[in-house]
């Protein structure tokens, strides 16, 4: 069974600094997608960034970038120039692709990020 592990329950970063959130996953599939979602106190799940497993190039989205290591099954999120609004729970998620059809999302346990002014 596929699993997603986030080993850091909580992280803290100073405003304007850089922080990296870790995520590892376990799968025997070669084709899948990986995501980072952000959940602020409003509880809205917001997509931060997405990575296709077949792409070697790491995805970037403004201040957010990932380090995708397929062989190591690692998918970390780097937040540069951290802002107070980045404070939230961050979830790593894995989406298997079976026979070309998307399937259910598997979430990690989350990392609570605090941003210190």
């Amino acid at each position: 069974a596929q699993t997603v592990t986030q080993s850091q329950p909580e992280m803290s970063v100073q405003e304007a600094e850089t922080v990296t959130l870790s995520c590892t996953y376990d799968t025997s599939e070669s084709d899948y997608y990986l995501f980072w979602y952000k959940q602020p106190p409003s509880r809205q799940m917001i997509l931060v960034i997405r990575q296709e497993a077949y792409k070697q190039q790491n995805a970037t989205e403004n201040r957010f970038s990932v380090n995708f290591q397929k062989a190591a099954k690692s998918f970390s999120l780097k937040i540069s120039d951290s802002q107070l609004g980045d404070a939230a729970m961050y979830f790593c998620a894995y989406l298997p692709v079976y026979g070309g059809a998307t399937n259910k999302l598997i979430f990690g346990t989350g990392t609570l990020l605090a941003v210190q002014p």
């Binding site: 997608y33 995501f35 409003s42 509880r43 809205q44 799940m45 997509l47 997405r50 296709e52 979830f91 998620a93 989406l95 692709v97 070309g100 059809a101 998307t102 259910k104 999302l105 979430f107 990690g108 346990t109 989350g110």
Partner: protein, 114 residues
């Protein structure tokens, strides 16, 4: 992206009663899902809402407890039946717009059972 409206946003219910949560999407979507997020926990998939047929439930979730309807491609409901305090959670509706696209979520329903 899609605009997903979920109602109610929160509710406080008595033990033994039932609550129906509605999810309305502003466009037709193939796949809709219902997730539960218990306090301080990650998201757990309850079921896939299938249009025109019975929902597909994950292990640990049963239709009698969480009946789901999906009468068309833009609307679904989740009922939490015979509630107990252990059902206190955030319930989230989500949709997939197409192949390889990420899940988009509604704002969630915060349920407290007393």
């Amino acid at each position: 992206s899609a605009v997903i409206s979920q109602k109610p946003s929160r509710d406080i219910c008595q033990r033994g009663t039932s609550l129906t949560i509605q999810c309305q999407v502003d466009s037709q979507v193939t796949m809709m899902f219902w997730y539960r997020q218990q306090p301080g926990q990650s998201l757990t998939l309850i079921a896939t809402a299938n249009q025109g047929s019975e929902a597909t439930y994950e292990s640990g979730f049963v239709i009698d407890k969480f009946p789901i309807s999906r009468p068309n491609l833009t609307f679904s409901t989740l009922t939490v039946s015979n509630m107990s305090p252990e059902d206190s959670s955030i319930y989230l509706c989500s949709v997939v717009l197409g192949y390889g696209s990420p899940l988009h979520f509604g704002n969630g329903t915060r349920l407290t059972v007393t």
